[in-house]
């Protein structure tokens, strides 16, 4: 089974990389982009029987820094 973890900077935490991407989009002619937030996606290949609770624990302990980041987990 697999899990996909999305990690994003929390709202209110400045994302200078997203901001740079927004500027670059404007510079190459894509008008109307009001904001860009950049995050990461982590795909986990898990042993059968792993639970969403296991993945949440992984996020809390290592995959995300919950001081600055939020995460969502999709199991499939």
């Amino acid at each position: 089974m697999k899990a996909r973890v999305h990690v994003m900077l929390k709202n209110g935490v400045l994302d200078p990389q997203g901001e740079a991407v927004r500027h670059a989009l404007g510079a190459i002619g894509f008008d109307g982009v009001n904001g860009v937030r950049q995050g990461k996606v982590i795909e986990l290949d898990l042993a059968e029987g792993s639970t969403e609770a296991d993945v949440n624990a992984m996020c809390e302990k290592l995959l995300a820094n919950t001081v600055i980041e939020s995460y969502t987990v999709e199991m499939s």
Partner: protein, 222 residues
């Protein structure tokens, strides 16, 4: 005084930090990230700058889970001293020994230059060799030094006199110009600038020397 300096794969300021401790009169042991125990009788642990584990995932995140850092955490929880510089500061925030986190520099650039630091408190073993308000010149060299903490945490740090150093001219977007902070018991210091790179006349500046000397003095008489 006995110091231990942690070496991770990717550390690059470990030897500089050891030299600075030695110059202040410490006996220094280097400890490898896979070691599970600190040497007996260590007074202070130095967590050096560099790019531990290639900064994979987040700066300091993997290092914070390494076997030696479990012992460093236990040492701090027993009331031991820990000094984290640059990547070491990032590691200490990732372990939770210090609050907040270090984000990418607001200007997105890696910055390597000497900056002015204001000593905000002399009430710690690290800063008692300075006077509060002193401005010292210390090099920075980082890409992720933009200190972030929520409003409550910032208010607590300021209210408890735990901001050790601020930038006189904020280079990286850090909240409240914060360059270094102390733990609640004032025995853990994390800072982005590199005092070990301003600890010898050959470095072109010696403003960092007082930090190591004060520490050695405090821990030797303790």
């Amino acid at each position: 005084m006995r110091a231990a300096v942690v070496v991770f794969p990717g550390s690059n300021c470990d030897r500089d930090l050891a030299v600075a401790f030695e110059a202040a009169g410490c006996q220094v042991d280097m400890v490898w990230h896979k070691d599970s125990d600190l040497p007996q009788g260590v007074d202070i642990v130095g967590v050096p700058g560099g790019f531990s584990y290639g900064d994979y995932l987040r700066c300091g995140a993997i290092a914070a889970q390494s076997p030696i850092v479990k012992s460093v955490k236990a040492h701090a929880e027993r009331g031991g001293y820990v000094l984290g510089i640059c990547n070491g500061f990032q590691v200490l925030t990732e372990t939770g020994l210090l609050p907040g986190a270090l984000l990418r520099n607001a200007g997105l650039k890696y910055i390597c230059k000497t900056v002015g630091l204001r000593v905000e408190t002399s009430q710690s073993a690290y800063t008692e060799g300075y006077n509060a308000g002193d401005v010292i010149d210390i090099p920075i060299a980082h890409h992720d030094g933009n200190y972030f903490a929520d409003a409550d945490t910032l208010a607590r740090l300021q209210g408890e006199d735990r901001v050790a150093f601020t930038y006189t001219d904020n280079p990286n977007g850090a909240q409240a110009d914060i360059a270094g902070i102390l733990s609640e018991n004032r025995r853990v210091l994390g800072m982005m600038p590199h005092p070990e790179r301003a600890a010898d006349a050959g470095h072109g500046g010696t403003d960092g020397q007082a930090l190591f000397r004060a520490l050695a003095g405090a821990l030797t008489t303790a």
